[in-house]
């Protein structure tokens, strides 16, 4: 009889001994959390986000010794290994252990959907730099994004295919593991039908699959005029290669999930003659963009940023801007951000005020375009279509919302 209680209780005591609030820092500072896929299948997304945020932080260092309103800014980065459950765990840690006042992330919509509810419940604002699936900001009023939505993006791809390329019969290859891919497929299919095209084949894959020859063979048999790959860059590259190996010559289409320096490394020549929609084109003459390019290249040994880095930079700048504003307009509340512990009423009031300021973002001059957040906390921005020619990404056209 006694043994039954003995063991669980002993374990309890041992664990309780470990209890005793760790986490949180001793001095006052502004802790900003950042979560992204630093490793795993979508590694460049998280790495680019990190680099973009670092540029913003570096500017803060040089202009204001890394402080806002007198409090130093510290960014805590967590890796979610490209997995949704890890994203949830990472955000838990950022919000509860590191006591972040705001969270930047994620790029992949599925992972934003995993981390968002935690931020919403804790009253911590989350700014996603580049999650495009509409469901992300629908989580709640503490979730924001810096980019356009997939209903616009899917529609734009349909528009480009039918009007600019004059194609009607399109095959789709979608990633069933990704909310982004599934959502984009739906929006594209609906828009294509409206514009008089047809989806001649819709095949699916799972991110991480070793082989796509079965799906591509099925697609080839339907003879499409183009193949729209709605997933992320790694699979896009691999699928592109496999498609050419199997003798599919039709052009390939993609969306912002393709945006990565690794896309061409993986896909190689197979991707020549493909098009994908994106947040920016590096050869655009926009002065903000060019200035950011210069700074980024200096910091990163001449390599170019991708749109993910640009959006992350904008997200960080918007956040810093709002923090400055709060420090100027309401210093008392601002100080609570730095000193109060998570969960206390002062802290919740402070993050609520921060949230309100972020929601008021209007005409912010971002490097990825002018950012104005609407009542659903989404940005309405034009997109560009990039063409891959001779191993390079070239601006083709831009589409306005």
């Amino acid at each position: 009889m006694r043994v039954r209680h003995g063991m669980p209780l002993a374990a309890l005591l041992a664990a309780s001994l470990l209890a005793g609030g760790c986490g949180g820092s001793g001095k006052d500072e502004l802790v900003i959390g950042e979560y992204g896929s630093l490793t795993g299948g979508d590694a460049t997304f998280g790495q680019s986000t990190k680099l973009g945020v670092e540029v913003a932080l570096a500017e803060l260092q040089s202009e204001k010794q890394g402080k806002i309103g007198g409090l130093p800014v510290r960014i805590v980065v967590e890796d979610d290994q490209s997995q949704a459950q890890e994203a949830a765990t990472a955000v838990q840690k950022l919000v509860n252990q590191d006591q972040a006042i705001a969270v930047l992330g994620e790029v992949a919509s599925s992972r934003s959907l995993a981390g968002g509810p935690i931020c919403q419940a804790a009253g911590v604002p989350m700014i996603s730099p580049s999650s495009t699936n509409p469901k992300v900001t629908q989580i709640g009023d503490y979730i924001f994004r810096m980019c356009f939505l997939d209903d616009f993006q899917g529609r734009s791809v349909a528009k480009f295919a039918t009007q600019n390329l004059g194609l009607k019969r399109i095959a789709i290859l979608k990633d069933v593991k990704s909310d982004y891919s599934m959502g984009l497929t739906e929006f594209f299919t609906a828009a294509l039908k409206e514009m008089g095209g047809t989806v001649v084949a819709e095949q699916a894959y799972q991110a991480g699959d070793p082989d796509f020859s079965a799906q591509l063979t099925a697609i080839k048999a339907r003879n499409p005029e183009a193949v729209y790959i709605t997933g992320y860059y790694t699979e896009a590259g691999l699928i592109g290669r496999k498609a050419r190996e199997l003798g599919i010559t039709a052009p390939l289409l993609g969306s912002d999930g393709w945006e990565s320096e690794k896309l061409l490394e993986i896909g190689g020549e197979a991707l020549n003659g493909s098009y994908y929609t994106n947040h920016w084109a590096l050869d655009q003459p926009d002065p903000q963009l060019q200035a950011f390019l210069k700074t980024y290249r200096e910091r990163n040994a001449g390599s170019d940023p991708d749109a993910i880095a640009g959006l992350a930079y904008d997200a960080a700048k918007v956040l810093f801007g709002c923090l400055e504003k709060l420090a100027a307009e309401d210093p008392a509340t601002f100080r609570a951000l730095g000193s109060a512990r998570a969960g206390t009423p002062e802290r919740k009031a402070a993050t609520a005020k921060l949230r309100d300021l972020i929601a008021q973002t209007k005409d912010f001059p971002g490097v990825t375009g002018t950012i104005t957040l609407d009542e659903n906390r989404n940005a309405s921005k034009p997109l560009v279509v990039l063409e891959i020619k001779g191993g390079k990404k070239v601006f083709n056209t831009s589409i306005n919302p």
């Binding site: 009889m1 006694r2 043994v3 039954r4 209680h5 003995g6 063991m7 669980p8 209780l9 374990a11 309890l12 041992a14 664990a15 309780s16 470990l18 209890a19 609030g21 760790c22 986490g23 997995q83 949704a84 459950q85 949830a88 838990q92 840690k93 509860n96 252990q97 599925s110 959907l113 995993a114 509810p117 069933v176 593991k177 990704s178 909310d179 599934m182 799972q206």
Partner: protein
């Protein structure tokens, strides 16, 4: 009077701890504690199959998945309206009732899965049984991947967080009690006989098939309940949490503790849940350490920490001074 004293005391202790523990620990430590509880339930449930009856099942994650998804879906569809209709009761009570229903539903469905898996598989032996159970575990996961109604590959979010300390550790108490009672009963003896020598047991008149299936079903039931608790604690389910690797984690707990020892499973579950957290600073090495431990354990001490014995006060005293009593004093 004596018979009700034990359970009543247990209930009281659990209610007290349910009040005190969440307040006394931070979110992170609380989470680790809850995971320990869930893992104990998993380990003990698997021990019934592997340890008591000697049937090597490595598809346990599949039963956990069935229970998790079933109870989650139940809560989302039926549990929430149920709680709303019981608005007169205090929230923890109403949620607890809903959770109870959800867990039972999950556990029962998992038990059915266990029965379906057990029936054909249990005429196979050793290695083949292991692979077939592995196969069933994978099939269950792939089926879940394809059912849109429970989120398919993208997972099932927003599960109500009703699993409290009381429920998790209450289940621990129930499972452990049950296991100990089985071990001490004639049914338990039959199971141990099957483990030690199946042919001899059959020759002596033990209905081996029946016991093997029963062990499977009970093990699956509690794996399902553990899955349900996990779902209602983490609030988010994804099929990739229930792969072959998860089954191996549970096997590691049973093997480390000693197949057939309930207290061993409890100890091992605790150690193996704390280990990754303790090793978090060197978390890249964590899995390497884990796997090395398995190999070294099998080479040097395959019976695990406690072998087939239970940890009793007598034994503990023996470790610290006087000689341990003769074997079988469990």
């Amino acid at each position: 009077m004596r018979r009700t004293l034990g359970p009543a005391a247990a209930l009281g202790v659990l209610l007290l701890l349910d009040r005190w523990v969440p307040a006394a620990t931070n979110d992170y430590h609380f989470q680790v504690l809850m995971l320990i509880g869930i893992n104990i339930v998993l380990a003990v449930s698997l021990n019934l199959v592997n340890g008591f009856t000697g049937q090597f099942s490595i598809g346990h994650a599949g039963f956990m998945a069935v229970g998790a998804y079933a109870s989650a879906k139940f809560s989302l569809e039926l549990g929430k309206p149920l709680v709303a209709s019981m608005a007169a009761l205090p929230a923890p009570l109403a949620q607890g009732v809903a959770l109870l229903f959800a867990l039972t539903a999950g556990g029962l469905l998992a038990a059915v899965a266990g029965w379906l898996v057990g029936l054909p598989s249990l005429r196979l032996r050793g290695d083949y049984l292991a692979i077939v159970t592995l196969g069933f575990g994978e099939i269950i996961r792939v089926v879940i991947l394809n059912v849109e109604a429970i989120g398919a590959a993208r997972g099932l979010p927003d599960i109500p967080q009703w699993a409290s300390f009381f429920w998790v550790f209450g289940t621990v108490v129930v499972v452990v009690t049950l296991a100990r009672h089985i071990a001490a009963s004639t049914h338990g003896r039959a199971m141990f006989a099957i483990r030690d020598d199946e042919v001899a047991a059959e020759a002596l008149g033990v209905d081996t098939t029946r016991y093997k299936v029963v062990a499977f079903v009970i093990g699956a039931f509690f794996a399902g309940v553990a899955g349900g608790l996990s779902a209602h604690f983490l609030s988010y389910l994804n099929p990739s949490s229930f792969t072959f690797l998860k089954s191996i984690e549970v096997i590691a707990m049973v093997v480390l503790g000693g197949m057939g020892s309930v207290t061993g499973s409890i100890l091992a579950a605790t150690i193996l849940t704390l280990l990754p957290e303790v090793l978090r600073p060197v978390k890249d090495f964590r899995m390497v350490v884990y796997s090395l431990m398995l190999v070294i354990l099998m080479i040097t001490r395959p019976q695990g920490l406690l072998g087939t014995h239970e940890l009793t006060w007598t034994r503990l005293r023996g470790w610290f001074g006087r000689r341990a009593p003769a074997k079988g004093a469990a």
